[in-house]
């Protein structure tokens, strides 16, 4: 990732100006966004402070844990106080950090008072999870802090999945998140005036999607208990895979439109067929297709963080896949071998079609 200093920024502005794309003086250097690792530091510190704050509440005001109503009122009050601080005093780093800690602590208090977990296992209380999910959606939209937005959208997606723990709709829910992720990233530049809100929300949903599809923790907590009702879950799982495949074809369609490639045409047809074959070859290993989708979306938008997230999720999913017990290692190796061959063939096919298409265009 090439990072720009002031001289280079001025040069870039002058280039754009000479092409008639911009006008006026070089913009000032205020409000440079902090890189992702600085925001990660702030977010993690906020959570550490929140834990100490919860300890403080437990030590001095234990009634908030013993009485669910008190816990809910105090939790909501803390979240509201954080909202007021972030709306009115966000220029101060100390206040922003304090507000984050209060909000996170308030949310934990709310979760414990709604009695949503048995240790780390989510309880299947649909109404309470729906309430928490709606609160998180509201926080993601209204709280003017990118770190908080990432967290709230992540949490909202998880609330949606925990709403129906005993049903197979978990797979449909995952595809809903997948569609939201694809749709927001594909339209990132059409909705650029909302980028301050939508970018963090998109990141949060992307992290939730990758968490749900790539981690053994989520699999053990949520998916594995469902596998007892095999027939119904199998149906829902297949429906989820089909919907996921449809979403990926939709992404490919949109990206072809963006590149002004005629549909149908030789190039477009080849790309669609190759995509379909890859989807079919990876039906039992959807973590790979989802990781692929994230990598492609990241590349399409010039977003190296998103591409990196996709690569990490692919590598992580492969290691988790090794330990999943729903099929044997022999079957897994066969699935991976088929997928590997399909991918290499697709690469060869793309090379032939795209290179010959380029030759035809150059000749014209």
């Amino acid at each position: 990732m090439r990072l720009f200093n002031r001289v280079e920024r001025i040069s870039l502005w002058n280039d754009l100006s000479s092409q008639g794309l911009v006008s006026g003086d070089v913009p000032s250097d205020e409000n440079i966004e902090s890189p992702w690792y600085v925001r990660l530091l702030i977010g993690l510190s906020g959570w550490i402070a929140a834990l100490f704050m919860l300890g403080f509440l437990g030590a001095g005001f234990s009634f908030v844990y013993e009485n669910n109503t008190a816990g809910m009122i105090v939790g909501c009050g803390m979240i509201f106080a954080a909202y007021l601080m972030l709306v009115n005093m966000s220029e101060s780093d100390f206040v922003s950090q304090f507000a984050l800690a209060i909000s996170f602590a308030g949310q934990v208090l709310l979760v414990t008072s709604l009695d949503l977990f048995h240790w780390v296992t989510p309880r299947g209380d649909t109404v309470n999870w729906a309430v928490l999910g709606l609160i998180q959606v509201a926080l993601a939209w209204f709280i003017p802090n990118s770190i908080h937005r990432i967290w709230s959208s992540f949490a909202a997606a998880l609330c949606l999945s925990f709403m129906f723990p005993k049903s197979g709709y978990i797979f449909i829910q995952t595809t809903l998140i997948m569609f939201a992720v694809a749709y927001i990233w594909l339209n990132e530049f059409k909705w650029v005036k909302y980028q301050g809100k939508l970018n963090p929300i998109a990141y949060g949903l992307t992290l939730a999607l990758l968490y749900q599809t790539s981690t053994s923790f989520y699999y053990t907590l949520v998916i594995k208990p469902l596998l007892r009702d095999k027939e119904f879950i199998l149906q829902q799982s297949w429906l989820g895979d089909l919907l996921a495949g449809a979403i990926i074809l939709y992404v490919v369609w949109q990206l072809l439109k963006r590149q002004n490639i005629k549909i149908p045409s030789r190039v477009a047809n080849t790309i669609f067929i190759a995509t379909l074959v890859i989807i079919l070859a990876s039906l039992e290993i959807t973590g790979i297709t989802i990781g692929l989708m994230i990598i492609v979306l990241g590349y399409a938008n010039g977003n190296r963080i998103l591409t990196g997230l996709g690569i990490i999720s692919l590598l992580y999913y492969t290691s988790v896949y090794y330990y999943l017990l729903h099929v044997t290692l022999l079957e897994k190796s066969q699935l991976l071998a088929v997928l590997g061959v399909v991918l290499l063939l697709a690469s060869w096919l793309m090379h032939r079609v795209l290179v010959s298409n380029r030759a035809v265009q150059d000749a014209k």
Partner: protein, 325 residues
């Protein structure tokens, strides 16, 4: 400093670029890929994923230990695959993606071969020896490949073998009683040496110029020394004094180098986070040790963390602006 994409999006957000021209500007400056960019990307992506999928398929297959296939057939399968990959690398242009994929696949398959050998002949070797021998045997390929990711695999393998060595043997050369403390000292020394070597090599070889491999190794070094500091605070090992001294020397060195010589905000941010954790742990330990005022202790720790994080955020923003100037 900021990337071109962040820069353009900031200008759009500030109203300096009309919103309706967002995609056009991003395309013109090369943030959004063009047709040839997409072609190269799709081919490379499918090649990489295909090569890695086949390598992992082989790994899973060997791990299954399928009785229906004889041991010589299994050896032949893996060895033919390795030879095929090496020949492919030899024949192809080393700068091409296919060559890099071939050599990476050969590197992974080498580990599979060693695992198969151990599985077949039940040599009684410890798991750490598998990873150590793997790293040793792949070293000539790493030198020849001129590819950062293969060197990263090499560093990872050695980290794994060090961790497994201490798990199996307990202590250095089995002479010293095992402790996690010794493990983290060795990991810290190894990763710090790898880090230094990488930074020096990056000044000579352009294929090592990407920062993300350095960040990974730096994180390994930072986690190790931070753990040793936490151990010094909480557990009181014999080497506590050395740990504290080393931590301060490490922190000051990082500050001087990555603030003045090789500006790198990621490493400075990592240093800040390590400092926050260590300082908070120090206060936490001393506040709760024999203290009857948990309310005050928790409150103080909350404020400490918030204040440190806010100060770190402010300082990092200042440094970022300075680097961007």
């Amino acid at each position: 400093m900021e990337s071109k994409r962040s820069l353009i999006l900031r200008w759009i957000g500030q109203g300096n670029i009309p919103k309706e021209k967002a995609e056009e500007v991003l395309s013109k400056v090369g943030v959004l890929p063009d047709g040839s960019g997409w072609r190269i990307f799709i081919e490379s992506l499918l090649l990489w994923l295909g090569g890695l999928a086949l390598s992992f398929a082989m790994m899973f297959f060997i791990a299954y230990n399928w009785d229906e296939m004889g041991r010589f057939a299994k050896f032949a399968l893996v060895e033919v695959a390795i030879v095929f990959c090496v020949i492919a690398y030899w024949k192809l242009d080393v700068d091409k993606v296919t060559a890099k994929v071939s050599l990476t696949a050969a590197t992974i398959l080498l580990g599979v071969l060693l695992a198969l050998y151990g599985q077949t002949y039940q040599t009684g070797a410890d798991p750490w020896q598998l990873f150590f021998n793997w790293a040793l045997l792949m070293l000539p390929w790493a030198i020849v490949a001129q590819f950062a990711s293969i060197w990263l695999i090499w560093v990872l393998l050695l980290n794994l073998s060090i961790s497994l060595y201490f798990q199996a043997r307990g202590g250095l050369f089995g002479l010293i009683f095992s402790s996690t403390e010794h493990l983290f000292w060795v990991l810290f020394i190894f990763n710090s040496l790898a880090w230094i070597a990488w930074e020096f090599a990056a000044t000579r070889f352009s294929w090592l110029k990407e920062r993300w491999p350095v960040w990974l190794i730096a994180t390994a070094s930072g986690v190790s020394i931070s753990f040793l500091m936490l151990a010094a605070i909480f557990d009181h090992y014999p080497s506590d004094g050395i740990a504290v001294f080393t931590y301060f020397v490490w922190a000051i060195t990082l500050y001087l180098i990555y603030r003045q010589i090789i500006p790198d905000l990621f490493i400075l941010a990592g240093l800040c986070f390590s400092a926050i954790v260590v300082i908070t742990s120090f206060f936490g330990y001393h506040l709760f040790k024999g203290n009857n005022d948990p309310i005050g202790s928790f409150f103080f720790l909350t404020i400490i963390v918030i204040a440190l994080a806010a100060a770190a955020a402010k300082w990092l923003k200042f440094v970022q602006k300075e680097m961007a100037a």
